[in-house]
Amino acid sequence: MKNYILFPSYNEGLKLASLLKEEGISYTIAPTPRQLSTCCGMSIIYKDEDEDRIKKIVEDNKIGVIGFYTI
């Protein structure tokens, strides 16, 4: 099982990536899996235990996300 965050554009994805880096939260940029979307482009893989913190960062910084998914 892996957790993914999808974005409306890479700009939003990169914004979140740099915030995660500042916060010391580990993440992996990955191609968006086909099960989640047929548009290609980046997504972010994160760890279960960081989900709440990441959601807060997304909210506080008004990062545009399509959603959080686990597959």
Partner: protein
């Protein structure tokens, strides 16, 4: 995850077919790359570039063209990037590394031809590669016969210019190459309506030297035992060098090296065999040999290929008072690339032996794309020279299909046990 459909449509792409190509990448990348353990955080940049391979970069090429800039596609590390960049052109390497394009390539080419050629022709005629579709001009070169003749086919689809590359390395040939570069400059000046200046060329030489130096720094780090980066990751960086924005790429390679430098001191010895790969280029997404090898008890620490050391070794001298001096410097630097299309090609054998010592390799894999004559004929010479030096060598001849993966794995396994 932007929606790039409109952009692709404007490039006259076959969207349905392209979609089938896009469908395979995420899973392939996940299983080959993201499954690796202990990767550097700075690899996230390269994950990003791959994730956006048909998105962000294509958008950038498009923006560049909207502003009147030109995009030129190339197929060989002999075509001088310095000239393209100095004239405001974005150069993109177009060699095809995917099995996906082979079928279309075989519609117009014989089946018994190198997969790299079949793939790039297939990519063009199927209109599924947005890089091809973004090019204002393709630049070929007279290297191997297969490529030379394939450019005639590409020219039926899109404007194509071919540089005449000498086949030998005498003084006369270096002079000829210098003249050929001058002809190339005229061609690109006509395309762009710009004039090459001393200043532009000098800046461009400096910029591309910096890029080469960054890659060299990365390779230097691989000399450590164990190497702080997998062969797969290093290969990816080399492959991305062919089409990414030069400054952004260089900056990110430097960041990666900074991180790896710190990592070196924390690494514990492992008993993995250190291997060199020598031979034909590996274009994205050809990760086949590295993937098989590094899933065994081995680490690839250097590639003597055009997606490896041949790409970055030797800088263009920045000395010179005139534009002609700089052009001569460029000709001289490029003629140092030791490709099997030249005869004789003693320099390559010397390179392999030197690199084997510098990188302290336990063995060498000679990677030969199927039906590549220049490299397969040259194998004998390399074999003899390495035998004299007691360096173990394994020949792997293969294409992009997955049919022979099991067989290659068995052969490499046996090789690793023997060395």
């Amino acid at each position: 995850m932007g929606d790039y459909r409109k952009l692709w449509e404007s490039l006259q792409m076959d969207l349905e077919k392209h979609d089938a190509l896009c469908a395979v990448l995420p899973e392939l990348y996940d299983s080959v790359y993201l499954s690796q353990e202990d990767r550097a955080d700075a690899m996230n940049y390269f994950n990003f570039v791959i994730s956006e391979v048909h998105g962000l970069r294509i958008e950038e090429l498009n923006n560049h063209r909207q502003k009147g800039g030109k995009v030129v596609g190339t197929f060989c590390v002999y075509v001088p990037d310095e000239i393209l960049n100095a004239l405001g052109v974005i150069g993109v390497g177009l060699c095809g590394g995917s099995q996906f394009w082979i079928e279309d390539g075989e519609k117009v080419l014989p089946r018994n031809l190198c997969p790299l050629i079949k793939a790039f022709v297939g990519a063009k005629i199927s209109a599924t590669c947005p890089y091809f579709q973004s090019c204002d001009l393709l630049v070929g070169e007279t290297t191997c016969d297969g490529k030379k003749k394939a450019y005639e086919i590409l020219a039926e689809y899109t404007p194509t210019y071919v540089m005449e590359l000498p086949q030998m390395k005498r003084e006369k040939d270096i002079k000829d190459w210098e003249e050929e570069i001058k002809r190339f400059i005229k061609e690109i000046e006509n395309l762009t309506g710009k004039k090459l200046t001393y200043e532009n060329l000098k800046n461009s030489i400096k910029l591309i030297n910096r890029k080469r130096r960054a890659l060299k720094r990365l390779y230097e780090l691989r000399k450590n035992t164990p190497s702080p980066i997998s062969g797969l990751d290093a290969l990816l960086v080399s492959q991305i060098a062919f089409y990414d924005d030069i400054e952004r790429f260089t900056e990110n390679v430097e960041k990666l090296c900074d991180e790896l430098e710190k990592k070196v001191s924390t690494l514990k010895p492992n008993n993995k065999k250190r291997l060199m790969v020598t031979g034909t280029p590996m274009a994205i997404p050809n990760w086949k040999l590295h993937h098989i090898t590094e899933n065994l008890n081995a680490q690839i620490v250097v590639e003597e290929t055009c997606t490896g050391t041949r790409y970055f070794e030797n800088e263009v001298s920045e000395e010179g008072e005139t534009i002609d001096d700089l052009i001569r410097n460029i000709a001289q630097r490029y003629m140092k690339i030791n490709c099997a299309c030249f005869t004789p090609n003693e320099g390559r054998v010397e390179d392999i032996i030197r690199l084997a010592q510098e990188y302290k390799v336990d063995g060498v894999i000679y990677y030969n794309l199927s039906f590549c004559q220049p490299y397969s004929v040259e194998y004998k010479k390399v074999e003899r020279a390495l035998k004299d030096k007691n360096i173990p060598l394994l020949l792997i001849e293969t294409d992009y299909s997955t049919e022979d993966v099991g067989q290659i794995k068995t052969r490499i396994e046996a090789f690793l046990e023997m060395i």
